[in-house]
């Protein structure tokens, strides 16, 4: 019994009854069956197809299930699906559902639900859009069988259905999945291991999930999004805490059980507490980035972009992000996530070795730069973009750019980066961001590495050699061919500077010592997590 409980009990002797002290909200046993979790951000909406924020995806993985799911080796394994087969010509995919799967409203999961869900998903997801573009038909053959016929082979089909990047191919009841993909759903019925308790949802403060009694976990051991998703608690409460210091204190005080992403500054304090455990959250980490606008001066010149890379010190960026903790970062002379099968440093020499300011200045002079302002848009409300922006501003000034530092917030950055106007007319030269490492494992899920002009991500790079390598990867028959394609892509992207990677960094997660089963992964996996 802690001191506060003791005081309550003492006070309760005198004030029992009407003052409420003698009737705590949860008994000891009930408290042990409720897991209190502090998510990375506010769960402001709950449609994982309409809203593609990671926090929505993370919560959705509790409520909705997928046909396939990535395991810890990034292999797509059957989840709701019994299995899948593809015809010899690679054009017809047949997916068989497991029998007896139920939605939270008690209805049975049918193939027609899968068809409607995949139709909605494919309108929003980049891989889904590629499949939709070559789709002949997507139909329910019977209650448990789905057939997807294509005009051209799509070898990455299982990856598309099982990937963890947003939006994931979650399966919803047909009536809900028929909602316009650009409009929000308002019923949160899935077939996942937890039910969403909508009545207790206070956006910005709290979201509650209750164990789904009729969930049928697979028999295999769980591994990330695949295998048996055994839920060991009755209830999971997500408690949104905008202030990291408060979250840290609440964890140390035992008011919450698990904090998804403690900031680095507070980790030493958490480590000193014997009741708290700290470890890396996601081994796939994050890639810091800043994107230059390829449409406007000065970064419409490849020499100007190369000048930035020649002088860019990734250590400076990473120190600004994670401080002195060397376990949390590593240099990244490439675009893909370190430690994953396609990682390569091909062509990344400009980012290696001592930084070369003379070369940077020479390249800038060769670019014909005449001192036009470089509009550097920096969102101040995101610690990662703020830290990177400050380093960039200093870097650009040292190279000789005329920097126009625009301090703003993420909402404004989101609007401004979509503008193609020239600088001085609402346009921009560069903005900062970061990508989850799980989204940078191959070109299918990695929109930021693409360089297909107007269709590319903000900055609109148009580099045909990059796109040729992307096509080469999609058509690659085996892993070796995929690696060759990615080496070509990395080289072309580095030479032409699709964007500037500022380094690879990891983040921590922290939990109370009485919690077990927490694993490292690209999202918090609640299955297998228990509390004593």
């Amino acid at each position: 019994m802690d001191r506060r409980t003791f005081i309550k009990v003492g006070a309760g002797l005198g004030f029992a009854g009407h003052l409420g002290l003698s009737a705590p909200a949860y008994s000891q046993g009930a408290a042990a069956r409720t897991l209190k979790f502090v998510p990375q951000a506010n769960l402001a909406n709950f449609d994982p197809i309409w809203g593609t924020q990671y926090v929505v995806r993370n919560a959705a993985a509790l409520v909705w299930d997928t046909l396939f799911g990535f395991d810890e080796h990034l292999v797509s394994k059957p989840q709701m699906a019994e299995g899948a087969s593809v015809s010899a010509d690679g054009l017809t995919w047949t997916i068989k559902l497991r029998a007896g799967l139920k939605f939270h409203d008690g209805s049975t999961v049918h193939a027609k639900d899968v068809v409607a869900s995949l139709t909605r998903w494919s309108a929003r997801d980049s891989m889904g859009q590629m499949i939709k573009a070559i789709q002949q038909e997507l139909v329910a053959v019977d209650d448990l069988t789905v057939r997807w016929v294509l005009k051209r082979p799509y070898p990455k089909m299982l990856m598309a259905l099982g990937k963890n990047s947003t939006p994931m191919a979650f399966i919803m009841p047909e009536r809900i999945a028929k909602t316009d993909p650009f409009k929000q759903i308002d019923e949160y019925i899935g077939s996942g291991p937890m039910r969403f308790v909508k009545d207790e949802w206070v956006p910005g403060a709290k979201a509650v999930f209750a164990k789904f009694a009729d969930y049928k976990p697979r028999s295999e051991p769980s591994s990330w999004l695949s295998g048996g998703k055994h839920i060991m608690v009755d209830r999971i409460e997500w408690i949104v805490m905008p202030d990291p210091a408060t979250a840290s204190a609440a964890l140390q005080n035992g008011e919450v059980d698990w904090w998804e992403n403690p900031i680095t500054d507070l980790v030493p304090q958490l480590r000193r507490n014997r009741n708290v455990r700290v470890d890396i959250a996601d081994p796939l980490g994050n890639i810091g980035t800043f994107r230059m606008n390829h449409l406007t001066t000065p970064f419409n010149s490849v020499k100007a972009r190369q000048a930035v890379l020649a002088a860019l010190s990734q250590e400076d960026y990473m120190r600004a992000l994670v401080g002195d903790d060397n376990a949390l970062w590593k240099p990244l002379p490439g675009f893909f996530t370190p430690g994953t099968p396609l990682y390569t440093e091909e062509g990344g020499d400009l980012l290696k070795g001592p930084r070369n300011m003379d070369l940077a200045k020479r390249l800038l002079a060769e670019s014909g730069y005449a001192g036009t302002p470089v509009t550097c848009v920096v969102a101040q409300d995101q610690p990662i973009t703020k830290a990177q922006g400050d380093v960039t501003a200093d870097l650009l000034k040292r190279i000789g750019f005329n920097v126009d530092y625009v301090a703003t917030d993420w909402g404004t950055t989101g609007q401004r980066r979509a503008m193609k106007n020239p600088v001085g007319q609402g346009g921009w030269s560069m903005f900062h961001s970061w990508h989850a490492g799980a989204d940078c494992i191959n070109p299918a899920v990695y929109i930021a590495c693409r360089a297909n002009g107007d269709a590319a991500w903000f900055g609109w790079p148009n580099i045909p050699t990059v796109e040729a390598a992307v096509t080469e990867w999609f058509e690659a028959p085996n892993l070796d061919a995929e690696k060759t394609a990615i080496r070509n892509l990395n080289r072309a992207g580095m030479e032409n500077v699709t964007y500037a990677p500022t380094g690879f960094f990891l983040q921590y997660q922290a939990w109370r010592a009485n919690i077990s089963g927490v694993v490292k992964g690209p999202l918090p996996f609640f299955w297998g997590v228990s509390k004593t």
Binding site: D2, R3, R4, I7, A11, F15, L19, G20, L21, A23, A25, N42, A44, N45, D47, W50, G51, T52, R124, S126, S165, T166, D180, F182, K183, Q184, D186, V202, P203, G204, A205, K206, I239, M241, P242, D243, A245, T246, A247, A249, A250, N253, E255, T408, D409, W410, G411, T412, G414, Q415, R416, A418, S433, H435, D439, I447, A448, A455, W457, F458
Partner: protein, 313 residues
């Protein structure tokens, strides 16, 4: 008096109309795009544009403003762009914690600050006076979030007497409710206590030099009666005025306090809505705060007549 109250209540209508026009226009011209926030970081420009269209954000200003005003007049504050929940539902979810925090802070502040100010005036020029004024300077100078962190560290982490964060509804019991609000109320009340204490002291100093106070003393009236019955009642009008004006301080301070103590109140709702450009929620909350502020000032005007019978409306 009744006619006056009716007139004042009716006068809130044009005030609210001006506030509505101002808020809507300000949000319209402010940079930022909810569609970009919704679409997420991986979205393409085409996705963002499609979402903007689906939210109706591509429609002309007058069309959007007219529709919003019409809905407000029909009691509909709209639906949050992000949560897809009615704004009234979101406000209902959040109003109890904020109201609780403000009421408790108000009670705490008045019950501490007024006696402090009275004692400081009574002991004018002594160390007690200097201590009170020193505290007032400190209260003004130290930001709410710093006070909050210090209180949480001492009373929650070190002493383990009170929780760090959260809110327990009043229906769960008085003590659980109070337990969660004590630290936030003290943190938020600091500035308010300083403000009221200073005004009370200044006003009391003036009143204590009046002839009728000297007369009371000459008649042998006790010090406590002089201070609290004769002097304080006559000093009450400016004090009550400051308490009313200070409501704006409380509303502003609640935003920070609710974030520091993770209280799910209207302050946090406002900040979240602003950062995401959730226009219907921002508009709804600002209208509500404006309405509350107008009503509080009306209440203060009515209270004047209780403290000073010469005031008639």
């Amino acid at each position: 008096m009744f006619a006056y109250i009716i007139r004042r209540v009716l006068a809130t209508i044009p005030v609210m109309a001006v506030v509505a026009l101002f808020v809507f226009s300000l949000l319209y011209i402010a940079p930022g795009d909810p569609a970009a926030v919704i679409a997420g970081d991986q979205a393409t420009p085409a996705d963002v544009e499609r979402i903007r269209e689906s939210l109706g954000l591509d429609r002309p200003y007058l069309v959007r403003f007219g529709e919003w005003v019409w809905n407000i007049l029909n009691g509909d504050m709209g639906v949050s762009i992000f949560t897809n929940l009615p704004v009234t539902t979101m406000i209902k979810q959040r109003i109890e914690p904020t109201l609780s925090l403000m009421v408790l802070t108000l009670i705490l502040a008045v019950s501490i600050a007024v006696p402090m100010g009275v004692v400081a005036a009574w002991k004018h020029g002594t160390w007690i006076d200097r201590c009170v004024m020193g505290f007032a300077v400190l209260g003004f100078s130290v930001p709410v979030f710093v006070v909050g962190y210090v209180l949480a560290y001492i009373f929650a982490l070190e002493l383990d007497w009170l929780p760090v964060q959260g809110y327990t509804a009043f229906k769960e019991g008085f003590f659980p409710w109070l337990e969660n609000l004590v630290l936030p109320a003290i943190a938020l009340g600091g500035v308010y206590i300083a403000l009221i204490a200073r005004i009370t002291r200044a006003t009391m100093l003036e009143v204590l030099q009046q002839d009728y106070i000297r007369t009371a003393r000459a008649k042998g009236v006790g010090q406590r009666s002089i201070l609290f019955l004769h002097a304080l009642k006559n000093a009450a009008v400016p004090i009550v005025t400051v308490i009313g004006i200070g409501m704006a301080l409380l509303i502003g301070g609640a935003v920070v306090t609710e974030s520091v103590f993770a209280i799910p109140g209207l302050g946090r709702l406002t900040v979240d809505a602003i950062l995401r450009r959730d226009y219907p929620v921002i508009q709804g909350v600002v209208l509500l705060f404006s309405f509350v502020y107008v009503l509080v000032n009306l209440l203060i005007d009515v209270l004047y007549t209780l403290f000073d019978p010469r005031i008639r409306y």
